[in-house]
Subunit: 389 residues, 2 copies
């Protein structure tokens, strides 16, 4: 799934020695999931100190967190809330609990993420708890993936291919009738194709909540999910980014199909996108600037005569970045775009050039690589015939 | 799905006249989805002024947001980034763009949510943009649901019942063989039952990513998803909270089943939980303190002899709150728990008492109500026989 071109410019932040402090839930925060390795759907406190991980959870979560998480010390929220009330009065909440913890564990200063809740940040300062913003990533090491993590992402991408196998089967089975595609006697819609893909992925242990299955001009809005009947002889973008239920890691791949007969313009579009992807992947290497990877895509498109324009009612051409980090979030730390960002050894990135021209259609081709000292290691694989007769 | 007992104590905040400012994405923030009514998965800027809603999005989102969102004015991020760079230098980002917008639109002061990103908060202050924390909800009106919203939640709950119909069919068809449950020749597991439920919901337009299907002692951890074989004569909690894909609203219901023959203790447990739920629903009324609803549950349990205890390795008894708001988030504003919180006219709340005793099992019964000036309006309905022979 493509990411915006411009986001926070800097990702390269020196690792801070200050103990981290988090107050969020794992629905919102991949950092929290990375830190504690357990899903908790209400905000809770976690911090690190002396190489150990601490958390404070309610009775509702206590047993499960103690049994299944990476936390070394699990503290009961009820007890600490009582302590905070004794010290700060009946209105004590998370800030006061953290102040008590800082005192008990003699932490002089925490580091917090840039998206730490502002109200809590100010309240903690008022309570005398010193905080330093990460000014980048809270856990810079999250960008560098271990072999185990690469395996998890690979499994996510395997789930994507499960989806493509189903999609191709349906597109092959579909019948062309004039401007319509019929499957099992009814019009083949984005919804029906998405349903078949997502059920197949669910059966194999993944969750794909909103895969993109968009044909024709719909696909020219890269984040449009796709709706209604699919048509023959039109490009259909299928972008799948399922989460592996067991581990929480994502896969992310895109393939572009066409049922019927492709025009020369469609053929050239798809061939150019693929050529751009291969040119980009060849540039991926630890220490190289991601800007150069993006540049390889832009150069390929420019050479082939494809222009990018921004008009009043939208843009056409190559209108997103080349890639983004992938891990416990679909848009994980790391990026390949026009802004400088050196690729780190072990980082996992999508490489997904695309071209979008209303009238002609859209094409995107997305695979996942891990950055090494040499050639990029491919973590996804699905060779295919995009033109299905 | 039950919520922790203790969260932010105060929800009743006077509506602020200051224009709201948001910088987040709709994966994280129901506020943003509520404000703009469009899904955007990367952080973006939105603000309100003079009754109009403004947003700044990249070329990647521009067309789709313009076409499908509630925003009155959609501004191109690229242009505003350029303006910010001209004024603040090459490193300009979201903060500088907001500063430019504040100047252009002559906003002297924004209100922001308590979980506004701390780094951006401080940076904006440095840039001279005045911010006031909401000190409660950014949009207090989000707690009050319109009829349209109630319809959306009702649809979510209809999807839950689709799940229960499938679950009951499977439990009826399952065969008891000693300590095992067999379905279609193989052991019936939490995973297989969850898969069948979630596929049925997906087919009807919902996404249920992680329904709880937990039997025996597993169910005594109310947030445990459930894994492995289900057994006869054990209580099985099925908690489903699907999102309606079309609208983004959630349903949330829980039923407890048993395949085989229930013991007297299990029967008493389930009857007491249901009695507690009915007692709680009778208390629901605009202007009444949610604490009293929770109190009705506690009183019912106490009277029936069920004790709540907190031990070193977890808790037993009634170990979570009675209910929570439901809407664009599973845990939406509004709560029924031990802390005072007056119920507002139009609020939508779950009512979900539960009892959990390892050895005996867990039981939870969850329905959804809308608060009126009179009797609570039921937004969920699924009468059933929990004991399946």
């Amino acid at each position: 799934m493509p990411r915006n071109r411009q986001l926070n410019p800097s990702l390269t932040v020196p690792k801070s020695p200050l103990p981290p402090l988090l107050y969020t839930d794992t629905l919102i925060s991949p950092d929290m999931l990375y830190f504690g390795r357990v899903e908790v759907h209400d905000p809770f406190i976690a911090f690190g100190m002396g190489g150990r991980k601490y958390t404070v959870v309610s009775a509702l979560e206590f047993g499960r967190v103690k049994r299944t998480s990476d936390f070394d010390v699990v503290l009961p929220r009820e007890k600490w809330l009582e302590a905070a009330r004794a010290r700060y009065g009946a209105k004590a909440g998370p800030a006061e609990i953290i102040a008590c913890l800082a005192k008990e564990y003699r932490v002089r200063r925490f580091r917090v993420s840039d998206d730490f809740p502002a109200a809590l940040f100010l309240k903690l300062r008022d309570l005398g708890v010193k905080l330093a913003l990460a000014n980048g990533l809270l856990f810079p090491e999250r960008e560098i993936k271990t072999d185990r993590e690469a395996g998890c992402v690979r499994e996510g991408n395997r789930l994507c291919t499960v989806g493509y196998v189903v999609a191709e089967k349906i597109l092959r089975a579909a019948r062309i009738k004039g401007r319509s595609l019929l499957w099992q006697g009814k019009p083949l819609t984005s919804e029906r194709l998405r349903f078949a893909i997502e059920v197949a992925i669910k059966e194999q242990g993944g969750n794909s909540g909103d895969a993109i299955v968009a044909g024709g001009d719909q696909a020219c809005d890269p984040h449009e999910r796709g709706t209604g009947p699919l048509h023959p002889h039109e490009l259909i973008i299928i972008d799948i980014f399922p989460r592996v239920v067991k581990t929480g890691y994502f896969g992310d791949m895109t393939r572009t199909y066409l049922k019927g007969t492709a025009s020369d313009a469609q053929k050239k579009l798809c061939a150019t996108v693929r050529a751009a992807q291969l040119a980009a992947i060849r540039k991926v290497r630890a220490g190289v600037d991601g800007k150069d990877v993006h540049g390889a895509v832009v150069a390929t498109f420019t050479k082939a005569g494809y222009k990018t324009t921004h008009g009043k009612n939208g843009s056409r051409g190559f209108i997103h970045g080349t890639g983004h980090g992938l891990g416990l979030a679909v848009h994980d730390p790391g990026r390949l775009g026009p802004v400088s960002a050196v690729m780190k050894l072990g980082a996992i990135l999508t490489v997904e050039p695309g071209l979008y021209y209303p009238g002609l259609g859209g094409c995107r081709w997305e695979d996942v690589v891990q950055v090494t000292a040499g050639r990029a290691k491919m973590l996804s694989r699905h060779p295919y015939d995009w033109e299905i007769r």
